[in-house]
């Protein structure tokens, strides 16, 4: 086959994928108010962003939510992965299947089901409902990340530790956790990013008491173009990118 044809094609598709992102980033530094013409370099939209008290509050809320959701889901997800990996128990396939379904099902299905639950049990929509929902949709991703690491794990390592005098708990602390640490970190970073970026589920389960960033952006972009959104979007993109690079670096380094 021709050599340059596939390459040109790959390049073209990558261009299409990245042009909008580049445009967004470039326009976030645009002095002009109308989002279409170049009016010179400026940081005024970043300034406007940080001068907006409600916006800054939503940022902190989002960060705190992502932080807690990632931490809780990593904790539960890692334990789940360990249980699936180490123990034989009834309903193991059901558990696996449920996690798979959570991952595959459209977010909106998860969203309305959780809304129904929260209203039924009378839970005030806010931080707690958001946290429960975010942990739930992050969970399968963490489980998969940790399981992948565990599947390359030598079954004899825990036995070797026990053989040398470690209790089950000490073995977990000194052998199991250090070995799966890279996967835990990667899972955490993924959970953090998923939570920070979520719109669909949050639309349903958030309340006025706890405003988060994606929903604020959502209400801003539904009507027309807002230059602040360019700046905010750029910040979010850069943030996610750093997280992704970090996680890939951790996983690559651990593979060596």
């Amino acid at each position: 086959m021709n050599r340059w044809l596939p390459r040109t094609y790959l390049t073209l598709v990558y261009l299409l994928l990245y042009v909008p992102i580049v445009v967004l980033v470039v326009f976030s530094f645009n002095e002009s108010r109308t989002g279409y013409e170049w009016g010179g370099l400026s940081l005024r939209w970043y300034e406007a962003l940080f001068n907006n008290r409600a916006m800054v509050q939503a940022m902190w809320n989002s960060l705190w939510l992502a932080l807690s959701a990632a931490t809780v889901s990593t904790l539960i997800g890692a334990l789940t992965a360990l249980a699936l990996h180490r123990y034989r128990f009834r309903g193991k396939k059901v558990l696996n299947g449920m996690l798979f379904i959570v991952m595959m099902s459209p977010e909106i299905v998860l969203a309305i089901s959780l809304l129904a639950l929260f209203l039924l049990v009378g839970l005030q929509l806010g931080y707690v409902s958001l946290l429960l929902a975010h942990v739930t949709f992050c969970l399968p991703f963490v489980v998969i990340t940790v399981m992948a690491r565990l599947s390359g794990f030598d079954e004899r390592l825990p036995e070797a530790a026990r053989d040398l005098g470690a209790s089950d708990f000490t073995m977990t602390r000194t052998v199991l956790i250090p070995v799966i640490m890279p996967a835990l970190l990667a899972g955490w970073l993924l959970g953090f990013t998923l939570s920070l970026d979520d719109v669909v589920v949050s639309t349903f389960v958030s309340g006025p008491s706890y405003e988060i960033l994606p929903l604020r952006i959502y209400s801003m972009v539904r009507v027309g173009l807002k230059p602040e959104v360019n700046a905010l979007g750029t910040l979010l993109l850069v943030f996610s990118l750093v997280m992704l690079i970090l996680s890939q670096w951790i996983l690559l380094r651990s593979k060596r």
Binding site: A160, R162, L164, A166
Partner: protein
């Protein structure tokens, strides 16, 4: 003089309804090198894992120096294991791997330092303490695993096919090294392998296992020269089985047996014999004498295969009734070019007294076939 260290009695274990060990009894002596030998699935690894505490018997007990260990978790047993693929902790240095067991005992830092250095010196890896396991060769990893297990000064070392991942030459070196270590440390070694040569060359005693039963327990020489049954005879080394028929039980502790029409007189075996009874006459290939066709003695046949093995010439001889005979002959200094042609007529015989007799058994189940020797 031989003191029992570990005693296993009536051990029974089932996995998914399949009996892996069947009321097995075994006494292991203090300071011996004992090998569990058998084909895969014979129960040898399960037995070892039971000693280590990773499996629990459905029935029976394990006692060490009179103390019941049956339900003691592995971390509280005074024995250590060298695992098949070494199971070195990948995130720890060689030093930390070896120190792990001592840290678990909460030994003082200086003592740990000193004992780990000693253990590494013993396996000639003093200079590798700071390396990570993945920076070592297979043989080096093997030695770290051994150091990690013996640094705790266990009463007994359990070795689960520790040499199976090494190439042939390295395996030989490690066999010698393991023997040396065992002599120096004076610890009891329980060694699991499916390699009969390895078992014979290293052990004080060999336990031949099949189907969760001990087939034979004895010194390597006993197991090789006087196999207890057909399985052991087939599994350990190569053997020719000649069909024999008792012609007469003589008064003087001998019997006359008809083998291929030859009447030979053998020492009376341990099992009861009566006239007309069939039995197996076992001869190792090196016991076979290949004679010229005009020789009076022996059974006529012809050479169908010849393999030059360096120190021996191995041949396959087809007897007239179709029986195949393996023969392994050392080269004669007087005749270094000695060789056979394919199809060459010969006669087969052996020196009286070198044979071993076994009673015929009900035809073996097909699962016996294909066992790796």
């Amino acid at each position: 003089m031989k003191q029992t260290l570990l005693s296993l009695s009536n051990l029974t274990k089932q996995f998914d309804g399949k009996k892996v060990l069947d009321s097995l009894d075994l006494e292991i002596f203090d300071g011996e090198f004992i090998t569990l030998l058998g084909p895969s699935g014979c129960g040898k690894t399960t037995l070892l894992r039971m000693m280590a505490g990773f499996e629990h018997p459905d029935e029976g007990s394990i006692t060490l120096g009179g103390q019941d260990l049956t339900h003691t978790p592995p971390e509280h047993r005074p024995l250590n294991t060298v695992f098949q693929n070494y199971a070195l902790f990948p995130h720890m240095s060689v030093f930390d791997n070896v120190a792990y067991g001592l840290k678990m005992e909460k030994r003082p830092k200086e003592e740990i330092q000193q004992r780990v250095e000693e253990a590494l010196a013993m396996v000639q890896l003093e200079d590798f303490a700071r390396r990570k396991p993945h920076q070592l060769s297979g043989g080096q990893q093997q030695r770290v695993a051994i150091a990690r297990a013996v640094v705790k000064r266990p009463k007994m070392l359990l070795l689960d096919e520790p040499l199976s991942a090494l190439d042939f030459k390295l395996r030989r070196t490690m066999q010698v090294e393991l023997k040396r270590l065992q002599r120096e440390l004076g610890i009891t070694f329980v060694f699991v392998t499916h390699d009969q040569e390895e078992a014979l060359s290293m052990s004080d005693r060999v336990v031949v296992l099949k189907g969760g039963h001990i087939q034979q327990l004895g010194t390597p020489r006993e197991v090789y020269e006087r196999p207890a049954n057909l399985f052991t005879a087939r599994f350990v080394g190569e053997t020719n089985f000649f069909p024999g028929r008792v012609d007469a039980a003589n008064g003087d502790d001998t019997i006359t047996v008809d083998v291929f029409g030859l009447k030979r007189t053998f020492r009376k075996p341990d099992f009861p014999v009566k006239e007309g009874q069939g039995l197996h006459v076992l001869l190792r290939p090196e016991d076979i004498r290949v004679l010229a066709p005009e020789d009076e003695d022996g059974v006529a046949g012809k050479i169908v295969e010849r393999n030059y093995k360096g120190s021996t010439l191995d041949s396959v001889i087809h007897l007239e009734d179709g029986t195949e005979v393996l023969a392994s002959e050392f080269f004669d200094e007087d005749d270094p070019t000695f060789d056979y042609r394919l199809g060459e007529p010969v006669k087969v015989s052996w020196v009286d007294g070198w044979e071993w007799l076994l009673p015929t058994e009900p035809e073996a189940l097909p699962e016996e076939e294909g066992t790796d020797a």
